[in-house]
């Protein structure tokens, strides 16, 4: 298949009106002015009980906590299933996929033949929160949690997470599973579906 090149229209062909700069500049200033007055006048209107015209995005961090979106990638955690053991089967895929090589696994085998990670060490000081581990894991055993607080330490050695710190109850991660399945599995299904033509679109 020949490689097709798509020309991106960078919108550099400006009209004469745009090239005159001043009118467009005034339009831009009107936008910033509108924001200014909405936020400024809205401050006083709110005081007297008017409508909420202000669109302030600031979160007063230590007093207020930001609400992170569902697809937010926080600290990677190992999923602990309902019967109390980790879902991980020590296949080593995440170890191989991790770009900064921050995962190291030593596998083991249970008496019933199930494989499990004897030791699972994730170096939090090297993790780049890329989410590759979560993407490759065949068992949904490692996912990115919404954990973003207290991830800093004065000492790097304190940031090396072992199984003890990594295990996270499954019931708290349901939302994340939904996001994951929506993101990866539906794409997979799309590719596999015989009803859909798999030719790339123009």
């Amino acid at each position: 298949m020949a490689i097709t090149v798509k020309k991106v229209d960078r919108n550099v062909d400006m009209t004469l009106w745009e090239r005159m700069y001043i009118p467009e500049m005034i339009c831009g200033m009107l936008i910033t002015w509108r924001h200014f007055f909405l936020n400024f006048v809205g401050l006083f209107l709110e005081e007297v009980g008017g409508k909420h015209y202000r669109r302030i995005a600031t979160v007063y961090y230590p007093e207020e906590m930001p609400i992170v979106p569902v697809a937010y990638r926080g600290r990677p955690v190992l999923v602990r299933s309902k019967n109390g053991i980790e879902k991980c089967v020590a296949c080593g895929l995440c170890e191989a996929a991790c770009p900064p090589n921050c995962i190291s696994i030593i596998g083991g085998e249970r008496p019933n033949g199930d494989r499990y990670p004897d030791s699972y060490v994730l170096d939090g000081s090297r993790c780049i929160f890329c989410g590759f581990c979560e993407e490759v894991c065949p068992k949904e055993a490692i996912v990115m949690s919404h954990d973003w607080k207290n991830l800093c330490e004065y000492n790097r050695s304190k940031m090396v997470y072992t199984k003890k710190e990594l295990l996270y109850p499954e019931r708290n991660l349901q939302k994340r599973f939904d996001v994951l399945r929506d993101k990866y599995f539906s794409a997979y299904r799309y590719r596999q579906s015989p009803n859909l033509k798999t030719e790339p679109k123009e």
């Binding site: 936008i31 910033t32 002015w33 200014f36 936020n39 600031t58």
Partner: protein
């Protein structure tokens, strides 16, 4: 021979201007710049500095900054020229304040048999004086860049000097039409002639106002013309190697230049201290029942207030430009200066000359 009363009068005026510029405008503008940009960008802005729990909408940050910068180490890099490195911020700050000496911040008022003219020096060539003095600021900037022994600083200084020299020429030419219109180079006379609203510079010379404002912002090296101190390219440009109070001097110089430029705009285009449709004499008449001296005093206070409010509006305009526009590329700055604003200002001089020749533009 200067009498003692004259001396006191001049000193009071100088004190007023210095306190207004360094004591009021410079700290308040740092606050305005932070707060206005924040509100514009749907943020809240700096408001954490507090004294005993009082935050006063972030105004204390100026004080906190001052205290921090005073106690900071005054660092001179190795290999830098110590004398010039120390001299440069002074050379940048002095012209910025000096340019204000010919700007009238009020009219002429009579107290008893004394005439008080609210300008420090009533020069016949006030306009030329302002341009001469502001071009001296180039030395401060360039020497700062050169003496720092730092590549970023040197590049910033080079860019600054080239840019400021180019826009110096253009800025002078943009208001030649205005000078022809008012037939005077004296700031006081130009303001006096804008007594009538229809003689304001902005009404007859609005194209010149746009060109002048563009040049003035470029001269002040602020966004969108801030290539000399482009943070993303040159760290901080010519004052990369400055810290502590010397850094404050550069910063203050920049804010005072904003005020000076706004004052020039007010004086040349927006009628100085005049209220539209109310002439000075009429204003004094309104309060004549209080006695001549008090009437003059009230008119003086009103005049200065009007002047400062107009100043504030133009400063607000400049700040909005600063927080709205992206930076020009360096070649675009040069092209704009030499290939667009310069010819346009020449054309405008021609148009004004033609208009005055054919009496389409009144002579005043």
């Amino acid at each position: 021979m200067i009498g003692v009363v004259d001396l006191i009068e001049v000193l009071v005026k100088i004190g007023f201007i210095v306190v207004l510029l360094v004591g009021v405008f410079a700290p308040v503008l740092t606050w305005v710049e932070r707060k206005q940009s924040a509100v514009m960008q749907d943020r809240i802005g700096a408001n954490r500095a507090d004294v005993f729990g009082f935050r006063i909408i972030g105004l204390l940050h100026a004080a906190a900054d001052a205290i921090k910068l005073i106690f900071k180490e005054d660092f001179i890099p190795r290999g830098a020229d110590r004398t010039l490195h120390t001299l440069a911020p002074i050379m940048a700050l002095i012209p910025a304040i000096l340019a204000f000496s010919v700007i009238p911040f009020g009219g002429t008022y009579t107290f008893g048999d004394r005439e008080v003219n609210l300008v420090i020096a009533n020069l016949d060539v006030g306009v030329l004086f302002v341009f001469a003095i502001t071009s001296l600021a180039t030395y401060g900037v360039f020497i700062a860049g050169w003496s720092s022994n730092n590549n970023w600083a040197l590049l910033g200084g080079l860019r600054a000097s080239a840019q400021m020299f180019s826009y110096e020429v253009t800025m002078g030419l943009t208001i030649i039409g205005l000078v022809m219109f008012y037939q005077s180079l004296s700031m006081v006379e130009i303001v006096a002639k804008q007594d009538i609203f229809w003689h304001w510079g902005i009404i007859w010379h609005w194209p010149a106002f746009i060109l002048f404002l563009a040049c003035a912002v470029a001269e002040n090296k602020r966004i969108p013309f801030d290539a000399p101190e482009a943070e993303s390219e040159l760290v901080a440009g010519y004052f990369t190697e400055y810290s502590g109070l010397k850094f404050v001097m550069f910063w203050t110089a920049e804010f005072i230049e904003i005020v000076t430029i706004s004052a020039l705009c007010v004086v040349l285009f927006f009628g100085g201290h005049h209220i539209p449709f109310i002439a000075d004499a009429k204003l004094i008449d309104c309060f004549s029942s209080l006695g001549a001296n008090i009437a003059n005093l009230v008119a003086m206070v009103i005049g200065v207030t009007v002047f400062v409010s107009k100043l504030a509006i133009i400063i607000f305009l400049q700040m909005t430009i600063r927080w709205t526009m992206p930076r020009f590329r360096y070649d675009q700055i040069m092209k704009l200066g030499w290939k667009m604003i310069l010819p346009l200002s020449l054309i405008w001089i021609f148009v004004v000359g033609l208009g005055m020749l054919t009496n389409l533009i009144p002579r005043i």
